[in-house]
């Protein structure tokens, strides 16, 4: 009874701000302006202007997630031992999480735009004289998502890593394992479930990209992501049922990837990550 009372606020919150809006949207998506109850979904997959946003979003979110996890893993691995050094580097690496996508986008425009500092510097030393095209296209959004998504991946992996008993690595060393084998046979298998979770969260974050797709991307072309399609339906065409349908498809796509990764995770060892009695 006591524990029940404790979870009541959380349950009410979930019902009010997640379950109800979700169900409302779900029902709304089946009440199109014209046609039968599946008309919105039929229209989404019939109209290339719409279904292509799904591809575009996957083309951004998957590489971004892989880059962020692949980048965060070796850096977090180097930082796994507690030290003053670790605290400083962690702080610096985590700063982008506090900036917000808009500030990052502004910074990118100033540094990486055609007349930005990077372009000018490269032209100054005559390394590359052509114009640099790193904004207002696919690469701009990719870069912005890497900058804003990296801290989350890094912090998550670091916390999983520091939870692994360092004495295991020392034991492996005395048994003849060099640093690569210690990573490969001890850290990686124990970290795998954490990496799966990190991948899921980083993917969901990247998949719902919106501001940077507009600010540093090409929102009419190569970075017309699915959230833009939902936005247009809702606030430009005032077709809420269609916007809900797009949001449902978006949610389903995310769910499919998360489910696939978690299914893969079942194959990994998921027990304690210490090597003996406490």
């Amino acid at each position: 009874m006591g524990t029940f009372i404790l979870i009541v606020p959380a349950v009410i919150f979930m019902l009010l701000f997640f379950i109800y809006p979700f169900l409302y949207g779900l029902v709304l998506s089946f009440q199109p302006a014209q046609g039968d109850w599946l008309a919105n979904y039929a229209r989404f997959f019939a109209d290339s202007h719409l279904w292509r946003t799904l591809n575009t979003t996957f083309n951004l979110a998957l590489p971004v997630t892989i880059i962020n996890v692949a980048l965060a893993l070796p850096i977090a691995f180097r930082m796994r031992h507690k030290s003053r050094h670790q605290r400083w580097v962690t702080t610096i690496l985590v700063v982008p999480i506090t900036l917000g996508t808009v500030l990052i986008a502004e910074g990118m425009l100033a540094y990486l735009g055609p007349k930005g500092w990077l372009s000018q510097a490269l032209q100054f030393v005559h390394l590359y004289d052509g114009p640099i095209r790193l904004t207002h296209n696919y690469w701009g959004v990719l870069l912005s998502l890497v900058i804003s998504g990296f801290p989350l991946a890094f912090l998550l992996i670091l916390s999983y890593l520091t939870g692994i008993d360092p004495v295991l690595e020392r034991a492996a060393a005395t048994l003849g394992a060099n640093s690569w084998n210690r990573f490969r046979h001890i850290y990686l298998p124990l970290l795998a479930p954490g990496l799966a979770i990190t991948f899921c969260l980083a993917f969901v974050q990247a998949f719902s990209v919106f501001p940077s797709a507009v600010l540093v991307g090409a929102p009419a072309g190569s970075t017309r992501v699915i959230s833009l399609a939902a936005y247009e339906a809702a606030f430009e065409q005032y077709d809420y049922p269609m916007a809900s349908a797009v949001a449902m498809i978006m949610g389903l796509a995310q769910l499919a990837v998360v489910a696939a990764v978690l299914a893969l995770r079942r194959g990994f060892y998921r027990g304690p990550v210490v090597g003996g009695k406490g």
């Binding site: 298998p189 210490v274 003996g276």
Partner: protein, 354 residues
């Protein structure tokens, strides 16, 4: 890998404490361990014994000194190149690997062929009597079984030297006695050197061929268990080896090693272990105090702690000195008794600088 002796030459290790000052963890340890010997590093926690072990294993770099395996200098090699087997205090079993894969890990890292590795793992598990548990994960085993896996994993690589860091401290008393016998048996069967860290003098006495007693990073005495037990080199070793009665007295008479001490209304004859000045400390083991109608010390029994075979008895002398005695004779609380100590069992050391 066959070898004749492990040599530690002036091995030292300093740490920086949080305030930035240098702290001595291990000072100038020089010792030679021949093949087949079982050496115990004994001392209270924080005495530098685990530091010593980690230095030998390559898990900590030395501040100065060198370590040699016959003609090969090994303190410059990383841990994975030294090839010593190590048993950790909390076992450090790989939680995601079965018992078989845990034990086989060292062989796999050495590229031993699968069939041969399989045979060696089976034999190691037989040696620690864990046959039948090959496919379990460490989490499914009891503490004692985990300890055996850790032992098998350390010895299956046939290391020249097995290092053990308080391997029995997490086990209950009964299991500890059983594993102690196992460790001794396995050491004999392998015929290699073992260095064993412990804070338990019983463990050190029963297992080791030679004991190194340490305090604050400094070696106090290196000797056979019998000698450590009967002839502690200094007061610290004596205290650690169970000389519970330590009395500060004045030196009245010196005749070679034989001394007569007095003060506090007592008169004691003893043996000087170090050169003495005016004041001295007499160390007496509770076991060496006996009820004796003709004894020179009189007192009253103040407390009796029954231990089965014998009792721990506190005797307060007329002058107020409290002595701990272990005696099998029945003693009643409040009873007046006379006690004596054989002079050769009263060890006399210089008084500690206050």
């Amino acid at each position: 890998m066959s070898f004749n002796e492990l040599q530690l030459k002036g091995v030292s290790r300093h740490f920086a404490n949080p305030a930035g000052a240098r702290v001595l963890a291990l000072s100038e340890l020089t010792v030679t361990v021949p093949r087949g010997e079982f050496v115990a590093l004994l001392g209270p926690s924080g005495c530098g014994k685990t530091t010593t072990l980690n230095c030998i294993a390559g898990l900590l770099p030395l501040t100065s000194g060198s370590i040699w395996l016959d003609e090969l200098r090994i303190d410059v090699l990383p841990s994975e190149k030294r090839g010593f087997g190590m048993v950790f205090q909390n076992y450090a079993l790989f939680p995601h690997m079965t018992v078989r894969r845990n034990v086989g890990f060292g062989l796999r890292m050495r590229g031993v062929a699968t069939a041969q590795a399989e045979r060696r793992v089976t034999r190691a598990l037989e040696l620690v009597q864990l046959t039948g548990h090959e496919d379990k994960l460490p989490g499914q085993l009891s503490g004692g079984q985990q300890q055996r896996v850790a032992l098998a994993r350390a010895i299956v690589i046939e290391p020249p030297l097995v290092l053990m860091d308080e391997p029995l401290s997490n086990l209950d008393a009964k299991l500890r006695l059983e594993m102690r016998a196992e460790i001794r048996r396995i050491h004999r069967e392998l015929g290699r050197a073992t260095i064993y860290v412990t804070h338990d003098q019983d463990e050190a006495l029963s297992l080791a061929d030679r004991i190194i007693v340490m305090k604050d990073g400094v070696v106090q005495q290196i000797a056979a268990p019998q000698e450590i037990y009967a002839q502690p080199a200094n007061l610290h070793v004596a205290r650690f080896m169970g000389y519970r009665n330590v009395l500060e007295l004045e030196v009245r008479q010196v005749n070679g090693n034989a001394v007569v001490l007095g003060g506090n209304g007592l008169r004691l004859e003893g043996v000087a272990k170090q050169p003495l000045e005016r004041r001295a400390m007499a160390a007496i083991r509770p076991e060496d105090i006996a009820l004796d109608a003709a004894g020179s010390l009189a007192g009253r029994i103040e407390a009796v702690e029954y231990c089965g075979r014998d009792s721990l008895v506190d005797v307060r002398t007329a002058s107020g000195v409290l002595l701990h005695a272990r005696m099998s004779a029945s003693a009643a609380l409040g009873e007046s008794v006379r006690i004596s100590v054989p002079p050769e069992r009263v060890l006399v050391y210089p008084a500690e600088a206050a």
